[in-house]
């Protein structure tokens, strides 16, 4: 019996006829997913004339990087790209630390305050900040936060908290209490316990959160257009919007800009795929 079992398990990984059918189906699906990307990339090398006159399916006539050069200039790329990286990195870092701390406290304490805190945060997932942008802005300028770097970062933190606390609290049950108790007996302060014991254990969860938040913030348009519309503070998305607006005509540049904006994240994903999946594993396995 035992033998047969292990064969079965191997069978799960064996390439059968069924697997072949699955392979074909998934290849068709993959084509559907990759085609638009391929078309964008192809377009981004076309001249305006080619875009208008040639068949959309035709390959670009030459490897023409002019669109990229124009996009680079029009988007003020060094600045906007730097801004986007900066806002994303700082807000995500702040969010991960703050959400982890809040979630830990919520998971470890049974008091009414913490129950309330959990509900309070999680309700926030439901608040469409898109619909509240004017009051958000009014608060922002009253605190002198508009058109400042710290302002947009605080706003990303504010809008990301709920989701972060939700995810982090779900993970918290995977963290053994024993280590913390040991630390406390050794006389560690709570803060030290958090930073030196809990945070390392939270790493996978933090990875998940980092991934999710990075996408959100990297691609955010509305908040960035509200808080950092000055030329030097703009993000990539805000700068790109002007290429897509009404009566726009510069599509080839716009398409090059799209490729530029996807590239860093795509490379990041391809390089760090293993960690991505690992990070997500924790989130999905222990909810």
């Amino acid at each position: 019996m035992k033998k047969k079992n292990s064969i079965d398990i191997i069978e799960k990984q064996k390439y059968t006829k069924e697997t072949f059918i699955v392979q074909i189906l998934i290849t068709i699906a993959a084509l559907f997913f990759i085609a638009p990307i391929g078309i964008i990339i192809n377009y981004s090398f076309k001249t305006k004339k080619e875009l208008y006159l040639n068949s959309p399916l035709a390959l670009a006539e030459s490897f023409n990087v002019n669109n990229y050069i124009t996009a680079f200039k029009k988007l003020n790329l060094l600045v906007t790209f730097g801004n986007t990286v900066f806002y994303t990195a700082v807000s995500v870092a702040a969010l991960v630390v703050l959400c982890g701390a809040a979630a830990w406290a919520i998971a470890r304490c049974k008091g009414k305050f913490f129950k309330f805190a959990y509900v309070y945060f999680v309700v926030g997932i439901l608040i469409p900040y898109q619909a509240l942008f004017l009051p958000i802005y009014i608060i922002g300028y009253k605190l002198a936060l508009t058109n400042t770097r710290i302002g947009i970062i605080l706003m990303y933190v504010a809008t990301g908290m709920s989701f972060g606390v939700f995810i982090m609290t779900s993970f918290m049950s995977t963290i053994p209490v024993e280590l913390e108790e040991a630390a406390r007996i050794d006389g560690c302060s709570l803060y030290r316990t958090y930073f030196s014991i809990v945070m390392p254990l939270l790493k996978p969860a933090m990875a998940t959160l980092t991934i999710m938040l990075t996408f959100q913030i990297w691609n955010d348009y509305l908040m960035a257009s509200l808080f950092v519309s000055g030329k030097k503070l703009k993000t990539l998305t805000v700068a790109m919007q002007s290429l897509f607006s009404q009566q726009a005509s510069d599509y080839t540049t716009a398409l090059a800009a799209i490729v530029i904006s996807i590239l860093p994240l795509a490379i990041l994903f391809i390089c760090l795929q293993k960690y991505f999946i690992k990070g997500m594993t924790v989130g999905a396995v222990k909810g």
Binding site: M1, I9, I37, G111, G124, I125, L134, A158, A284, G287
Partner: protein, 293 residues
């Protein structure tokens, strides 16, 4: 006595861990929510100093406004379809990639890349897909599929669903994939010993183990879809006519373009209430099932 004060100190320390986040969250999101609540009783246009108080007028209008009704109908349809399609396909893809197929990494990357693109651009890309690129495809193979999905009331929902799912399936697929890969093989072994068929294994072993992933995916997809806005901005513009006007789109259009900030605020408030109700129900049900599982 000493123990109590120590407990108290620790309690306060724990509270201090929650407070910074709570403070930012309150200032950045909750206070604006209350401000919107206040505006919802005014006929403020979003510009002037004075905000004339109109009582419940905006809410009365809300319940009789056919645009609101249509926008809700669209948003709900969009959400329901999205939740179904995205979950089913994400799970199917995940299962396919969990089998013995070759070149898994490549598929995984391909499925995932669309969600690196902002929804604004996704909308734009699909507008061009439907109007220029796919019809050319028709010519190529001599078929007559109607690809002009954004062009009519009947098909615009389908068009947007395709675009939205194209973007997000890969994301949720990763979550399911992760969950699938973490199902201990012993469980399958045990099921096999019991003589369970493949299907039974799926129902009794795989699905229960996926419960936490289901919670995350369903809540994520539903709340995300109910808030859909960016996708239409650069594609259908809420049209043709008003056929793809989502509730957030309507709110933005009413409050900003239409300069009826008070009325727009009333719409936001009702959206928050609806979202709240849905989420309470959802989380309640899903959590219960998880516990049982």
């Amino acid at each position: 006595m000493r123990k109590k004060s120590l407990d108290n100190k620790i309690f306060l320390q724990y509270v201090s861990l929650v407070l910074p986040g709570m403070l930012i969250f309150t200032v950045g999101l909750i206070i604006p929510l209350f401000m919107a609540f206040r505006y919802s009783f005014t006929s403020w246009n979003g510009m002037t100093k004075e905000m004339p108080f109109v009582g419940l007028e905006n809410y009365k209008k809300f319940f009789t406004d056919s645009y609101v009704r249509d926008a809700w109908a669209f948003t709900i349809k969009f959400t329901i379809w999205n939740t179904i399609i995205q979950n089913v396909f994400a799970l199917l893809f995940a299962m396919a990639l969990d089998s013995a197929v070759k070149a898994k990494k490549i598929y995984r990357t391909i499925f995932f890349i669309p969600c690196l693109i902002s929804a604004l651009i996704t909308g734009f890309v699909w507008l061009r897909m439907y109007s220029n690129i796919l019809p050319k495809f028709n010519e190529l193979i001599g078929a007559h599929f109607n690809f002009l999905l954004f062009g009519s009331k009947e098909t615009v929902l389908l068009g947007l669903l395709i675009a939205n799912n194209w973007q997000w399936i890969g994301y949720w697929m990763l979550i399911y994939l992760a969950a699938l890969q973490s199902v201990p093989l012993e469980l399958y072994e045990a099921a096999k010993v019991d003589g369970a068929s493949r299907w039974k294994q799926f129902i009794h072993v795989t699905l229960p183990m996926l419960a936490p992933a289901f919670t995350i995916c369903i809540v994520g997809i539903t709340t995300g879809s109910l808030k859909v806005y960016d996708l239409m901005v650069s594609s259908t513009g809420g049209g043709p006519g008003r056929a793809s006007t989502s509730i957030i789109y309507l709110i933005y259009n009413t409050a900003i373009g239409g300069r009826q900030y008070g009325y727009g605020s009333a719409m936001s408030i009702s959206l928050v209430v609806v979202l709240l109700i849905i989420a309470v129900i959802q989380v309640g049900i899903l959590r219960k099932r998880e516990v049982q599982a």
